[in-house]
Amino acid sequence: MAVLGSFALYLALALSVYCFLAGILALVEGAGSERLGETARRAGIATFAAVFLASLVLVICAFRDDFTIAYIFHHSNRDLPGPYKFAVLWSGQEGSLLFWSLLLGAYGFVLRLRYKTDPRLFAYASVVLAGVQIFFLSLLNFAARPFGLLEGPLRPDGSGLNPLLQYPEMVIHPPMLYLGYVGFTVPFAFALGALIMKYPGEKWIHITRRWTMVTWAFLTCGVFLGAHWAYSVLGWGGYWGWDPVENASLMPWLTGTAFLHSVMMQEKRGMLKMWNMWLVFATFWLAILGTFLTRSGIISSVHAFAQSSIGDWFAVFLILTLAVFLFFFFKNKSHLRSEHKLESIVSRESSFLFNNLLFGILCLTVLLGTWFPKITELVEEKKVTVSGPYYNSVAIPVALLLLILTAVGPLLAWRKTSLESLKRNFLWPTIGAIVVAVFLMITPKSWGSAFGLKPWQDISYFYSLMAIALSVLVTLTVASEFYRGGRVISKHTGQGMFASMVQLTHRNTRRYGGYIVHFGVAVVIIGFAGAAFNLDKEAAMANGDQMTIGPYTLICRSYTEDDAPNYASQWAMLDVYKNGKSMGTMTPVRRFYHASQQTSTMPDIRSSLNEDLYLVYEGQDDKNHPVIKAHLNALVMCIWLGVWIMLIGTVLALVPNAPAPVRVPSPARLKQAQAEPVTGD
C-alpha cells in the first residue's frame, strides 16, 4: 500500500508540473494552442485524482493498522475508534499536508470543470493553482513523506492519536479550517491571472466573490469550531488563547473579511482595484505564512507540528510568491487605476475605506503580536511573551471602532448621504443602544451575569458595556433596514410585514444576507463581552462536600475510576443546584490514554443562553479526593449562536437574487424621459 501511495504522489507531482508548464506554453502561444491548453486542464483534473488516491491509501492504511508506515504508527493505534482513524489523515504534519494538497486538488478540479465561464481567465487561474500545487506535492514527495516506512523492528501497536484530538469536533474542525486556508488560493489564482492578462472589466471580481464567500464561510466555521474544541476539551475554561496557531487562522480571516467588503467598491464603482489585488494576495499569503509559523518551529506554540524541517520550504515559497506578485503588480498596475470619483466623505465608499483600515490594523496587531517575541529576540536578545493582555489592550479599542462602523455603514448611501437622513435613520437605534446600556448599568447584579455593569469599576467592564451597547446598535440598524425595506414592499403589495421582509431578502440576497452576517457578528461580540463576568473556583471535594459558585451549589455525590480499551478514566459525579433548585448531575472526566501515555480532561458543560457552568476534573489531591475546578462563564452560548447566524447569512448571500417584478413605465413618464435624458456626474 505504501508503494501505491508514494507512486500516486509522484504521479500527481508529474501531472501538476505538466499542467503548469503546458498551461503557460498554451497561454504564451495564444491562438492555435487550444489542444495543448486542454491537455494542461485535463492534467490538472488528473492531479486531483492522483492526490485523492494517495489520501485514500493513507486512510485505508490507518484502518488496516499498517504500522509499517511511520505516519500511521505515530498517529494511530489499534483501539482508536473508526472516525478518529479517518481523522488520522490530518492529525500530523505529513498527513495534513497531503490533506491540504487534496483540497487544493479538489478546488482545482471544480475550477477546471467550470472553465467555460471564461476559458482564458480560468486557464490563467489553473496555471497559478498548479504552481501552488507543485509546491505542496514537492513537500510531500521530498520533505514530509506520508508513506515513509518505520525504521527498526515492526511494533505491535501504534503510539496513538494525540488525546486532545480525540474529540468529535476534531473530525470536522481541521477540514473546515483547511477548506478556508486552501480556498483562498482560488481568489488569489484568479486575481493573479487577471493581473497578468490585464483582464478587462470586473467579471473576475464577480467570479472570485462567490469563491471568496464560500471560502470565508469555511474559514469562519473552522476558526469557531477550533474555539469550541478548545473550550470543550482543553479544560482551561476559555475558547481563545491568542496562541500563534489561532492567530494564524485569524489573520487571513481578517483580510478576507476586509476583501469581501472592499470588493463591493470595485464591483459598483470601479474603485480600489489595486487595494483589492493586495487584499486577495495578503489573504492567500497570510494563510501560507500562518502555516509557516506553526510548522517551522520559529515561534513557540502549544499546538503540534512545531520544530520540523519544512520551515525553509515555506520560507522560500513565501518569498517566491511575493516576488511573482510584486513583479506582475508593478508591471501591470497601470491597468488597475480606478475610474470613478468620490463625492462625499459621508458615503458608503468612505465607510468601506475605514472598514478596511480597521480590519488592516487588527490584522497588523495580530501579526505584530505573533512575531514580537521573535523580533525582540533578534533586536534585544531577550524573550518576551505576547498573550491575551496585550491583544486585549490593543485590539479591543480597534474592534469597538469597527463595531461602530458596522452599525453606521449600512445606513450610508453610495456616493453621498445627507446628514439629515443619517440622523433620521440613526436616531432610534442610537436611543435603543443607550437605553440598553443604561438598563445594564442600573439593574441589580443579582439579575444575572451581564447586569449591574459598572464601567468605572474596571476597564474590562467598560469594554463589555461598550461592546454590548454597540452590538445592540448594530442589531437595531440591521432590524431598521429590514423594517424599512419590508414596509415599502408591504405598501406596494399588501403583504404582511414578515412576508415582505422575506421577499425583500430574496430580491437582494447579498445585501440582506450580509446584514444577517452583521447581526451574527453582533451576537458573537455579546458573547465575547461576557468574558468580563467570568468566575472560577477550585476545590478538592470528598463525598458530600459542597462548593458554591455564583447562584450554583455543587455537591459531590461520588467519584470513581473506569477502564476502557483506549483509555482509563477518573470522574466525579456532582449534584448541581441553582438557587436551591436541583439542576441534575454533572460528571467531569479525566482520561489517561494507554497508547500515547497522555492525559486529557473532558469538562462537563451545562449551557444556557445566560451562562455556562463548566466543570473540570483536574486530578486528585493527597487523599485521593477529586480536585474540581468550576467556571461560571457568562454569555458563551451567544458566541456559538452568533456563528450559526453568520453562516446562515453567508449561505443566504450566496443564493441568487429572485427576479424583481417588471414594471412598465407610464406613457407620460416615458415620453418625458425620452425628451430629456439626465445623468448624475
Binding site: 466623505i345 468612505s350 490594523i361 524573550k383 496585550y390
Partner: protein, 180 residues
C-alpha cells in the same frame, strides 16, 4: 512681577480676564478629570483578592503550557502552584504591582509577563498599531480628498449632467420613492 500687575489676573481688562477665567476653568476641569481618573484607577485596587486576580492574569505559567498563570489547569504542574503562592504572599504583604512584577521577572525572566512592558523596545508593540491607525486615517482622508477633486468622467452625447441643487432634488425624490 507682582501678582496684581499680572494682566491675566487684572479685573480691569475684561478680555484677558475672560481668558484667565477660562484658564482657571480649564485647570479645574483638568483637576476634576484627573481626580476621576485616579478614582477610576484606584477603585478596588486595595482589595488583595482583586489584585491577586488582576496581577495573576498579567503573568504566564512558566511550565511551558503557554497559559496565563491563573488559567493553568495542570494538576501537579511543577510551576503554577508555587507561583500563585508567591503572588498571594506578595499581594498580602502589600507589595506594589510593579514590585511584584519586578520580583517575578528577576526570578523567572521576562517571559513570565503575559504582555510586553511599556519600556524600551517593548513599547513598539503598543505604539505601532495606534500610529498605523492614525497614519491610515490621515491617508484615507487624503485619498478621499484627492478623489473628490478628480475631474468628472466624460458623459455620453445627449446627456445633460445634473449637479448641485437639482441633483439633491433628484436624490430626495428617489429617497421618497423608495423610502430607503
Amino acid at each position: 512681577m507682582s501678582r496684581s500687575s499680572n494682566p491675566l489676573s487684572s479685573p480691569r481688562t475684561p478680555l484677558l480676564a475672560g481668558f484667565a477665567r477660562r484658564g482657571r476653568l480649564r485647570h479645574k476641569t483638568a483637576g476634576i478629570v484627573l481626580l476621576c481618573l485616579s478614582v477610576f484607577a484606584l477603585l478596588g485596587a486595595g482589595d488583595p483578592a482583586t489584585r491577586f486576580n488582576e496581577i495573576g492574569h498579567q503573568m504566564m505559567c512558566i511550565c511551558g503550557c503557554n497559559q496565563i498563570l491563573l488559567e493553568c489547569n495542570h494538576v501537579g504542574c511543577p510551576a503554577s502552584d508555587g507561583m500563585r503562592n508567591e503572588l498571594m504572599a506578595a499581594v498580602s504583604r502589600g507589595d506594589s504591582d510593579s514590585l511584584v512584577e519586578q520580583a517575578f521577572v528577576q526570578k523567572y525572566g521576562p517571559p513570565v509577563l503575559a504582555a510586553p512592558t511599556t519600556k524600551g523596545f517593548d513599547r513598539a508593540a503598543y505604539i505601532v498599531p495606534p500610529v498605523a491607525l492614525v497614519l491610515g486615517f490621515g491617508l484615507i482622508l487624503f485619498v478621499i480628498r484627492s478623489w473628490k477633486n478628480r475631474p468628472a468622467p466624460a458623459i455620453a452625447d445627449g446627456l445633460r449632467p445634473v449637479r448641485g441643487a437639482e441633483l439633491e432634488q433628484f436624490r430626495d425624490q428617489a429617497g421618497k420613492d423608495t423610502e430607503l
